[in-house]
């Protein structure tokens, strides 16, 4: 099969299957999660079938033209990196979707939940396999939107709405910066194709030499950093934890936040090896790593601890991708790719375990937990494995990649010339120490010590069912397997990805024992300092909390909240100032400009002595015509001055029927027919509505001053229209193209009525549009009235409403009718 269809199938399958979820729900009820998991499994197998080709160092690509005039194609590209990310997404997807079966109770809106998750999965595949910048951007923003929907899954709670909005504003907004960066890339290279940019040495050289290089890098990085919650953009991720825990495990630890890292890896060949790259990527990475690790200490919410640890771990990845020296390639890239894989495994596992704990204990507050070891032994063991992997304890996978991280930091410092640059390994160790401390907090605080007595925590808890335990258990097995025998994983998955990012990178040697290397010594220091830090844990956390209380303004969250609040208040005050009146104010403004539009040219024409009207004015008026016009004016006048509703309506519909007569004079039988039907209908409609009107008190008539003002405005408008109509003859007319319809009409459509031909055949799409307008109007009317009825039945318990119901039920319509007229008369 051609690759383009193959990759497109992977990307589109989840999207298409979204439509099938409601039907699956009808069949499977609360077990619908298995359906979604099956889709993820199919995608997993499809992606896995690409491994043989990527192992050989090949990549597959193909494209079909999409918007050829803008050189935008629908292009797919599957190299080692894309396949690795795709496998992580689909594998974690299978586990998460199976796990959700038990996590969500059957009363939840399951269809919506799984639909969102599938949309997310499809978008994520799109990000991984896109070979076109525009296409990549679209999928990129789709992941932001699906993340927004999933964080806001619990629509009723204020926190989840806040978290969802924050995530969308930050990640979606930063995506726009990235888009500008993409435009710069296009300007520099002249193509949107990513693979072409990255494989063409001339293009790479032209980008590196361009004066736009730094600004492009910054713009693209803003998108990547915001997505991966790095630097100042980290604030959205802790609030995103309002999402259901499986969602956090899927989006906000293992996959979506990796998209930023993925982008950095993807553009590594283009930007790396420069000072800008080193300072921006590695610098922001190091700062975020230490900062987020430090903030993790004070968190009391289990998921918040994990959120900050995710930020910190992603910062490891950023830093390692930043470590690409000029002199020698280093091992930054291999270490980063390996850690990306490992982090997905242990962090998803941790989230799933936290989900189990929160599910069983009905709280996520770590202060209320303790001594669960005996009640949840399986969860306890799994937690030890996952947390120890995060802390970097041998022989687990986290240990291997952390060693490599330390090694790459030492390499980097040496490559930069040593001296002050040894700050890099020092910062790396500090990051490791912090990770060590909060990882062990997760084990010891929850499972050991005394069982807490808290009213929120149930007296007896137990391990959950197999469905919830199996996914983290599978990941735990993976963690151990990678730790003990890394070679098969490295060869099949990691090495092809490394190769596709940076073909000059050193071969990855992952092993538990390298001898006493600097990295080994750093690990030992980490463990020693980590244990020391753990003993001081509570003191540091308390210090942080008290600092925050004293200085609430020193935080990025404060900045964000102020900005958003200001935007809201500015918007509302602006809108309030602009739109504050009854409708006539807007009508007045519009009319003012219409009148101005006529008055100004008329003024100029008068000043320069040009004629206002055509010279051969026709004052001739046949008697029949005179009669018709007089009747039309009479009807219009009646509609405006009659004080009661019913005569007013009748007068207005008389105008409509006279209009039908006029159309007959104007040789338009079709129009006359339509007008007659429509006018009949609208008369009925007007009367129906009037019948239902309940007028409590008659509307006070306008004062004379207001009437005078209104008449003046109306007169000006009428005069403007009159001048406009009369002036049309002064300008050369366009030649009508109706002769085309006349000449070709019979031949093309077989009809003889030309108006019919136009409506039904030539402009058939317009008519479809018209019909849709009618349908939409019908739905709107139905819903408006239906919602009223709904409201009224809801208010039935209310006494006055009940009285009214009875009241209106007893009266027959005619009475209501005459009552209204009577009231009006009074």
């Amino acid at each position: 099969m051609d690759l383009i269809y193959f990759a497109a199938l992977i990307v589109l399958l989840p999207f298409v299957m979204t439509l099938a979820v409601p039907f699956a729900y009808k069949l499977m009820k609360e077990k619908v999660g298995w359906f979604a998991a099956a889709i993820a499994a199919v995608c997993f197998l499809l992606i896995a079938s690409m491994i043989p080709s990527t192992m050989g160092g090949n990549y597959l690509s193909g494209s079909i033209p999409w918007i050829p005039s803008l050189s935008v194609d629908l292009a797919f590209y599957a190299d080692g990196l894309a396949v690795l990310l795709g496998l992580i997404i689909s594998f974690i997807g299978i586990l998460i979707l199976s796990y959700s079966n038990k996590y969500l109770s059957k009363d939840e809106d399951l269809v919506r939940y799984y639909q969102y998750l599938l949309i997310f999965m499809g978008s994520m595949f799109g990000v991984a396999f896109s070979d076109n910048l525009i296409q990549l951007f679209i999928f990129w923003e789709l992941t932001s939107i699906s993340s927004f929907l999933l964080i806001g899954y619990y629509r009723k709670t204020k926190e989840s709405v806040y978290g969802a909005t924050k995530a969308l504003l930050i990640t979606g907004g930063a995506g726009l910066f990235m888009f500008v960066g993409f435009m710069f890339l296009f300007a520099m290279t002249g193509t949107y194709s990513i693979s072409e940019m990255l494989t063409n040495p001339e293009m790479l050289a032209s980008v590196k030499e361009s004066p736009l290089f730094t600004i492009t890098l910054i713009l693209v990085l803003i998108g990547a950093l915001a997505k991966s919650a790095q630097g100042p953009f980290f604030i959205w991720l802790p609030n995103a934890m309002e999402a259901p825990t499986p969602v956090s495990a899927f989006l906000h630890s293992a996959t979506m936040v990796k998209a930023g890292i993925f982008l950095v890896a993807r553009f590594h060949p283009m930007f790396s090896g420069t000072v800008d790259w080193l300072v921006l990527v590695a610098g922001i990475g190091l700062i975020t790593m230490v900062g987020a690790g430090f903030f993790a200490l004070k968190q009391t919410d289990l998921k918040a601890i994990l959120a900050f640890s995710t930020i910190s771990q992603l910062a490891y990845l950023m830093t390692m991708f930043g470590f690409t020296t000029f002199a020698e390639p280093g091992i930054g890239v291999p270490a980063a790719v390996f850690h990306l894989f490992n982090h997905a495994a242990f962090k998803a596992c941790l989230f799933l375990l936290v989900g189990i704990i929160a599910h069983e204990l009905h709280t996520r507050d770590i202060r209320k937990m303790g001594g669960l070891r005996k009640e949840m032994p399986v969860t306890f063991i799994l937690m030890i494995i996952a947390a120890a992997a995060m802390a970097g304890i041998p022989p687990l996978n986290g240990y291997l990649s952390k060693e490599l991280f330390y090694e790459s930091s030492v390499h980097m410092a040496e490559a930069l010339g040593g001296g002050v640059f040894y700050i890099i390994p020092v910062l790396a160790v500090i990051g490791g120490v912090l990770t060590f401390a909060y990882s062990f907090r997760l084990i010891f605080k929850i499972f050991t010590g005394k069982r807490t007595e808290d009213p929120d925590v149930p007296k007896h808890v137990h391990d959950p069912s197999l469905i919830m335990l199996a996914p983290p258990a599978i990941l735990a097995v993976l963690i151990i397997a990678v730790g003990l025998v890394p070679a098969p994983f490295v060869d099949t998955l990691i090495q092809p990805a490394i190769h596709s990012i940076f073909s000059g990178a050193a071969h990855l040697h992952a092993a538990l024992w390298h001898g006493v290397t600097p990295a080994f010594i750093m690990t030992m220091i980490t463990f020693a300092l980590g244990i020391l830090l753990y003993t001081q844990y509570d003191k540091i956390a308390a210090r942080q909390v008290s600092f925050n209380e004293k200085h609430p303004k020193i935080s990025f969250n404060y900045l964000y909240n102020t900005m958003v609040d200001n935007a809201f208040s500015f918007g509302s005050s602006f809108g309030g100032r602009l739109q504050k009146g009854p409708p006539r104010r807007y009508v007045g403004i519009m009319l003012f400009f219409i009148i101005l539009m006529v008055a100004v040219p008329v003024g100029f024409a008068l000043a320069s002595g040009q004629p206002l009207f055509s010279e051969n004015l026709i004052f001739k008026l046949a008697l029949s015509e005179m009669l018709l016009f007089a009747l039309i004016l009479l009807a219009a006048w009646g509609a405006s001055v009659l004080p009661q509703y019913v005569p007013m309506i009748l007068s207005s519909s008389a105008l409509g029927f006279l209009m039908a007569l006029l159309y007959i004079y104007l040789k338009s039988p079709n129009l006359a027919m339509t007008q007659l039907c429509i006018e009949t209908l609208s008369t009925v409609m007007f009367l129906l509505v009037i019948m239902k009107f309940r007028v409590k008190e008659a509307i006070r008539p306008e004062t004379n001053r207001v009437r005078l003002r209104n008449s003046f405005i109306a007169l000006c408008a009428a005069a403007a229209l009159f001048v406009m109509l009369m002036g049309t003859d002064l300008f050369p007319a366009f030649e009508s193209f109706s002769h085309y319809f006349m000449d070709k009409g019979v031949e093309l459509t077989g009809g003889k009525n030309i108006v019919n031909q136009i409506v039904v055949d030539f402009r058939g799409y317009d008519t479809i549009g018209e019909i849709s307008v009618l349908a939409i109007a019908a739905f709107t009317v139905y819903n408006l009235i239906h919602s009223r009825i709904h409201k009224r039945t809801a208010a039935d318990t209310d006494k006055s409403a009940a009285v009214f119901e009875e009241d209106s039920a007893n009266r027959n319509p005619d009475e209501v009718f005459s009552n209204i007229i009577g009231e009006e008369k009074k």
Binding site: I618, L633, W637, T674, K692, F693, K752
Partner: protein, 139 residues
């Protein structure tokens, strides 16, 4: 348009519609809207460059007498628009404006329906259709 009285009628109906649009009762605003769309439809149908006299329905063989449906004096040179620059069918009125207005009539019906329903809902909810009163209720 050189027919003074036609233009005058259209403008007056339009002016009355505008006057209604400025009133306080939502229901009257709906009527005003209705009047305005009638006058604009009229303007479109009567406007233009046409002097024909025949309904734009083609006959198999064009029989002069059969095709003249409204061959009265009234139509002579006043309304009866016809497409200029048409050698073959010099006597038909322009079908395009008719087709346009046909659509416009139906759309304005839909708009009126929604406006009326809104007026009805407002009346149900607040017991009044006075714009100023509603504004006062909103605070």
């Amino acid at each position: 348009m050189t027919e003074v009285f036609t233009a005058l009628t259209i403008s007056l109906v339009f002016g009355i519609g505008v006057y209604m649009l400025l009133r306080r009762d939502i229901f009257k605003i709906v009527i005003g809207f209705n009047l305005i769309s009638q006058s604009i439809n009229m303007a479109i149908v009567t406007s233009g460059i046409f002097t024909g006299v025949r309904v734009p329905i083609l006959e198999e063989a064009i029989n002069e007498h059969a095709a003249f449906i409204f061959a009265d004096d009234f139509a002579n040179g006043i309304f009866a628009p016809i497409v200029t620059g048409m050698a073959d069918n010099p006597l038909f009125v322009d079908p395009l404006t008719r087709a346009l207005v046909l659509t416009a009539i139906v759309i304005s019906f839909a708009t009126t329906a929604i406006l009326l329903t809104l007026a009805y809902c407002i009346n149900e909810e607040f017991g009044t259709t006075d714009v100023d009163e509603l504004r006062r209720l909103r605070g």
